[in-house]
């Protein structure tokens, strides 16, 4: 494994006159959004990358303090635009937990199916964009063909393609029909065949392997220190997935595995996400088989009467653990809503991850973290 690493040792005692700053972003093509990274560099080596945030800040948390749950629902879909349904899921479950609202079983199944489809969409997007960062233009168009298929299925049911507002406290807003079930089953079959295409096009490519192997290594200890979650943590071998460790909804009823990496390099994170796509398909398949009949929306009062107290709910979003924490002072509007988003902690690892590596490797490492900037600047 060949890696390029600058020896950082002499930096303390030798006068570095060659240091300069390079501003990467906020409109750089590989930061995927309005992230700005200020790079202190020596030649092509990065000495100190510092992310600068706040270009897309919309005060979602503050907005939540002035709205009831239904009025805030659209906001949840606008944080992580690549996988919005888990954000819906966490938010409605938060209220259900606090108010003790029963959710019909069918609704829980629909939530799981659509959330997992959304996870697939997110991983499709990531796969294409990651390869784009590495300079391969073609894979993104292949993954987008598959992504379109899922989006079409989801559009039929939820009414939107990107910023979903589908879940409701007590269930979901529209029932799924037979057409949805058949189309999803067809898609599962289709997607399984597509993995061969991905492997042929990308995984077996020697240039790809040389670019990702041993690049952006996150050790287990480092991952724990920064609190990274999701595929990034699992790539480093940390067996943590909210769906297994803190089961919610109907996830305990399904048989699926948590793919793990060993070395914590970009290749491991790539493999973890690719395997996760397969596991999502397994979950959807089982959920469709077990799908019970019944109502899709429980009985919920129009104006929610929340008890005084606090509540928190964690879900596994496509990028890691997403936690909503709410303090309620009674009434139907939260006193304070805190959202813990996975990308924020995943990004916080960047200054340590990027020390002494090449600019090209930083682009690879950042791509493998799968950052979505609007959820960081929420």
């Amino acid at each position: 494994m060949e890696t390029a690493q600058l020896n950082l040792e002499p930096a303390t005692d030798i006068q570095h006159d060659n240091r300069y700053y390079l501003n990467m972003g906020p409109q750089h093509p590989s930061t995927h959004g309005v992230l700005r990274v200020l790079l202190e560099m020596d030649g092509e080596y990065i000495l100190d990358p510092q992310p600068v945030l706040g270009y897309g800040h919309r005060m979602h948390e503050k907005m939540a303090e002035h709205k009831n749950w239904m009025a805030f629902m659209p906001n949840t879909g606008r944080m992580d635009y690549a996988a919005a349904l888990p954000y819906n899921h966490g938010f409605v479950s938060l209220f259900e937990r606090l108010c003790g609202i029963e959710v019909p079983e069918r609704a829980e199944y629909i939530r799981v199916i659509t959330s997992e489809l959304n996870r697939l969409v997110s991983h499709h997007l990531w796969l294409g964009a990651f390869l784009l960062d590495l300079g391969a233009f073609t894979p993104i168009l292949y993954t987008f063909i598959d992504r379109e298929k899922v989006l079409d299925i989801l559009e039929d049911i939820t009414g939107s393609r990107l910023t979903y507002c589908y879940f409701r406290v007590g269930g979901v807003c529209k029932d799924i029909d037979d057409k949805f079930v058949t189309r999803t089953r067809e898609f599962i079959k289709y997607q399984r065949e597509r993995f061969d295409v991905y492997n042929k096009l990308v995984t077996g490519n020697i240039i790809f392997l040389k670019r990702v192997e041993g690049v952006g290594v996150i050790s287990k200890d480092m991952a724990l220190r920064y609190g990274v979650t999701g595929p990034v943590a699992r790539g480093s071998g940390i067996n943590y997935d909210v769906r297994k460790n803190e089961p919610y909804s109907v996830y305990p009823r399904f048989d699926f595995e948590i793919p793990l990496g060993e070395n914590g390099d970009s290749l491991d994170r790539y493999m973890v996400r690719l395997n996760e796509m397969e596991q999502s398909l397994r979950i959807i398949e089982q959920a469709l088989d077990q799908l019970p009949a019944g109502p899709f929306l429980g009985k919920v009062p129009k104006k929610l009467k929340m008890p005084v107290g606090d509540s928190s709910f964690a879900v596994e979003a496509a990028r890691g653990e997403l936690t909503y924490y709410m303090v309620s002072g009674g009434g139907d509007i939260p006193y304070r809503l805190k959202i813990r988003v996975p990308s924020y902690s995943n990004l916080s690892i960047l200054p340590e991850l990027g020390q002494g590596i090449l600019l090209s490797d930083l682009v690879t490492a950042m791509g493998s973290l799968d950052l979505v900037i609007p959820e960081i600047d929420r």
Binding site: E2, S30, F137, I207, K210, R211, S360, V363
Partner: protein, 322 residues
Amino acid sequence: MPPELLRMIIAAVLVVSFVFLNAMVLGYMERKVSAHIQRRPGLMEVGPHGVLQLIIDGLKLIGKQLVVPEGSNKFLFRLAPLLSFAPCVLPFVVIPFSRKLQIVSMDVSLIFILAMTSINVVAILVAGWASNNKYSLFGTFRSVAQAVSYEIPMLLSLLSIILMTSTFSLQGIIAAQKYYWFILVQPLAFIIYFISGLAETNRAPFDLPEAESELTAGFHTEYSGMGFSFFFLAEYANMFTVCSIATILFLGGWKGIPLPLGDFTGIVWFMLKVYGLLFVMIWARWTYPRVRFDQLMSFCWKYLIPFALANLLITAVVVKLI
């Protein structure tokens, strides 16, 4: 007007129009081939199957303003595109398109072509320096280091052919391939030459100078309008030159199975071979990811140059023995 001068003027006009035409054909080909690789129709709007799109693009680029950035060296900034474009036209003067169609027949035509294509590095250096932009400068440094390194295996692989033919004249080299193409006896040299050619013309997977995910657009980040299109023309002209050298030295040049086209047979065969190689270049670009800079350098110095040297040595011994 003396006939020789008239001939030169006609030749100059022809060569420049050929460069423009080549850029148009190649631009169309690149966009269409990439579209089909990526399962999309590609150019469809202007003309049947979008054949006129590149003309419209050219007109658009002519109409655009050349923005000269603040703090740049204005003279050098304007000079660089011309410096890049002008030497790219000159190799066409000596390329034999067929038995008769060659503007100037020189004994050292191969050296002339190689010298002219090397000037491009200077143009890139000037462009990157004058832009006063760190990303441009990055692209420039990469480009210069890459071009200078890859010129060595390129020349070494060509030298093995020179040893076999003992001439630098392109018509002489084609004539030497009377019974078989040199790719059959020098496959390694061909592969080394083609890889170096990809790197020389900054094509993927060696397109680090314009790595858009890292450097936005590399050395021509700050160029717009005709400034950009001159670099674009130069890139495509260089690609054509590299592929035509490969055709002449390894694939028998304009020679081929006789077709009922009279004197045009040679041109048809030559163009077919060159555009076949150009297709491979485009194919590689849209299929592979980009290599990293240190990998690029180590690939050149650790693999290509030793193999090229060994190939040259073996060729020399064999030629001496025969």
